[in-house]
Symmetry: C2
Subunit: 422 residues, 2 copies
């Protein structure tokens, strides 16, 4: 089958409302519409768990759209803003060239507004999510990227990037930075600092200047960090890998409990753990079913509960389980995509346990360096396609798109990538 019908048209995976309707169609190749635009020829695009919100019709879209918010490709056209004299703008406006290889975060970020400057790039004032009616996605042969000088990463900026396969680079668009964000957010919370420093809360106060507060010293067991990850889909696996890598790197003593109802996912995560931490004595790792997660945590912590829980599912039962697992002064870290449901907590419950909660999506553009560092370091578990411990299960052509969406929605397959030229 020829990749395109003529020089102005391309093949793309389109969703039709109201739900569960995926069609591969021939549509126009996008063109530069604004001086800040780039056109990217797609080399690989990903199918992500959050695509299912649109697929199932729970994403509020009412018009057809080209799906996909993960893509790696090559720049084939640039707007007028891209020239060497674009000083005072994000550096890609003066450096990006036609022919450059790029990776994109799942949302557009201008790189110039307050939120971008401070690193909260996913809340850019011009934020747009790829794969929605207003912003056609990457499950196509070509995609238009707005604000491309703030949004794209160029592989020219990645010293060791050329060693990475496209299927590895694609993990940088969403799932790996999101996992790193979840782990980093949990470990950087102020309430976790006593466990990593061995100094009692409030760390950073002037305790020694104003008298002995007569705490007993920390015991060895007080510095044992117990963390749970709820959900072992691709993002959950990335969160586990990031968390384990950070804990091992810091030489923290830890218990990590990875919880998912799916036996296959649990077995895969256990295999990945064996690769990452096989001969590390500093921690314990267990997988658990939804039904025995509480008992596993209770028995590992003498009834105390988890210091932090990473919620990577995005529904009320996962939030409820997170509360039940967390100990007083613990943190719940939710990177799951939530919908209109009410948060399932009473005020008195949060008060009585001094719970902290962090919600929201990953600022991929800002987390990129940390995620890339992990990707380069952990090619043993992030670098292969189709193996027993691989994050990426297979790479298929668009002809299989409708079936793959159906399988993915029903939990019959893991992470799948599309090669739009296959």
């Amino acid at each position: 089958m020829p990749p395109t019908v003529d020089s102005s048209s391309q093949r793309a995976v389109r969703w039709y409302p109201p739900s569960y309707d995926i069609r591969v169609e021939t549509v126009a190749i996008p063109e530069i519409e604004h001086p800040d635009d780039a056109i990217v020829k797609i080399q690989l695009s990903g199918l992500c768990g959050s695509d299912l919100h649109v697929y199932r019709g729970t994403g509020r879209a009412t018009e057809p759209c080209i799906m996909g918010h993960e893509f790696v490709g090559e720049v084939v056209a640039l707007g007028m803003s891209f020239h060497s004299s674009s000083s005072g703008r994000p550096h890609l406006y003066s450096k990006l060239r036609v022919g450059d290889k790029v990776v994109s975060p799942f949302t557009v970020s201008c790189g110039e507004c307050h939120f971008c400057r401070v690193g909260f790039t996913c809340r850019c004032v011009e934020s747009r999510l790829f794969g929605t009616p207003a912003t056609p996605g990457g499950q196509a042969q070509y995609v238009r990227v707005c604000r491309a000088g703030g949004t794209l990463y160029s592989l020219q900026d990645i010293p060791d990037g050329s060693s990475l396969a496209d299927s590895s680079l694609l993990l940088l668009c969403d799932i790996l930075p999101t996992g790193v964000f979840a782990a980093f957010q949990a470990l950087s919370h102020a309430k976790i600092q006593p466990f990593t420093t061995g100094q009692p809360y409030p760390l950073g106060s002037s305790l020694s200047q104003v008298g002995d507060v007569s705490f007993l010293p920390f015991l060895e067991e007080d510095q044992l960090l117990t963390m749970a990850v709820i959900g072992l889909g691709p993002v959950g696996v990335c969160a586990c890998i990031a968390l384990l890598d950070m804990l091992v790197s810091r030489k923290s003593r830890f218990n990590v409990i990875a919880i998912d109802p799916n036996e296959t996912r649990r077995a895969k995560m256990a295999s990945i753990y064996a690769i990452i931490c096989g001969n590390q004595p500093s921690g314990e790792f267990q997988v658990a079913d939804i039904n025995n997660g509480k008992e596993v945590v209770a028995s590992l912590t003498n009834g105390l509960g988890c210091n932090a829980v990473l919620e990577v599912v995005g529904n009320t039962s996962a939030l409820r389980l997170a509360y039940d697992l967390v100990r007083p002064f613990g943190c719940i870290n939710s990177v799951g995509v939530h919908s209109d449901h009410a948060v399932p907590y009473k005020g008195v419950e949060l008060y009585n346990k001094n719970v902290s909660l962090d919600f929201g999506r990953c600022p991929v553009r800002a987390m990129f360096p940390m995620a890339l560092e992990l990707l380069l370091k952990r090619q043993d578990v992030l670098g292969s396609v189709g193996g027993e411990t691989s994050l990426v299960e297979k790479i298929v052509g668009f002809d299989d798109a409708a079936q793959i969406y159906d399988d993915f929605d029903k939990g019959k397959c893991g992470k799948v990538l599309f090669d739009p030229w296959k």
Copy 2:
């Protein structure tokens, strides 16, 4: 009136179920019941906003109880645990003596369990709240303090403590540390760090090692911290004082907006601000009504919203307002005492703004050094009784207790202390 009827009885303020029933009665003086107990002769006790939960019958108490969880006094009896050879226990077990002056947090903490060792003292596994049926409170002439070697603060440990009036020391039992905790918790959150350091999120990552992320540099306006405090009761005023003191000490550029429906409270807070920051050019302070809080914040921040909101009320409308005021990647810090109401947020709302939330009561025992430092430093606003800017409005005897509870419940008076010997 004689202070006690005979040597074994005392006067105490007791609440009777179901609600709004305060009686001053003659009851037995408590005695040592456990080797870790102390008996404290009360010099001053406080009436606190959270006493109103019991008073109004919303605190689940079904039996009468002696009220009050704030008290300063003198040790008159000690259990068998208190002797110089109590090594390996919190230091007061070997140092506290009959005749010592002490201050107590509003809850008992053993000083020996995991939560006490790491500084989360209000979640001690043996935690008990004074002023409840199981733990008679401090609105009496004498009180029994369990786990006294872990719970009490001795003024012997406070180098400059002798300069402080009892009415100042009493602020250390609850409201001042709770205000300090709210301000400290907000400013120590990982999402606030970019604004205090001038480095984009994720601070602490290895950005420079793995390539240029091409953010534009911080502008001066990016480091302007905008914080709101909702509720200007005594704890809210303490939170404002702590927050302003921390911001001024750090030389942060700031906007602080203090919100309360009560005009008298707003005027008092404005006067206190003038004393603290009169000639400090590093920030702006405004008071606002509930109805115009949003507009004030929007106009001060060009529509961005607050970096952090301190919620010091404890109901759903305050939590709702906090959400409306906070910007994306902002923090809501709730030290209000919440009841059975559901948290008034949808999952998608918290996801869409990347909101962080910190709930719960202050670990007073751990926050004591920071609170004491502020108390000593800010005697100008924390040291007087009865003035226009005083936190403590008056000191009364028990004969006025029923009337004072009624006035306080109706917002007709501010912070009132009881002298049980008056």
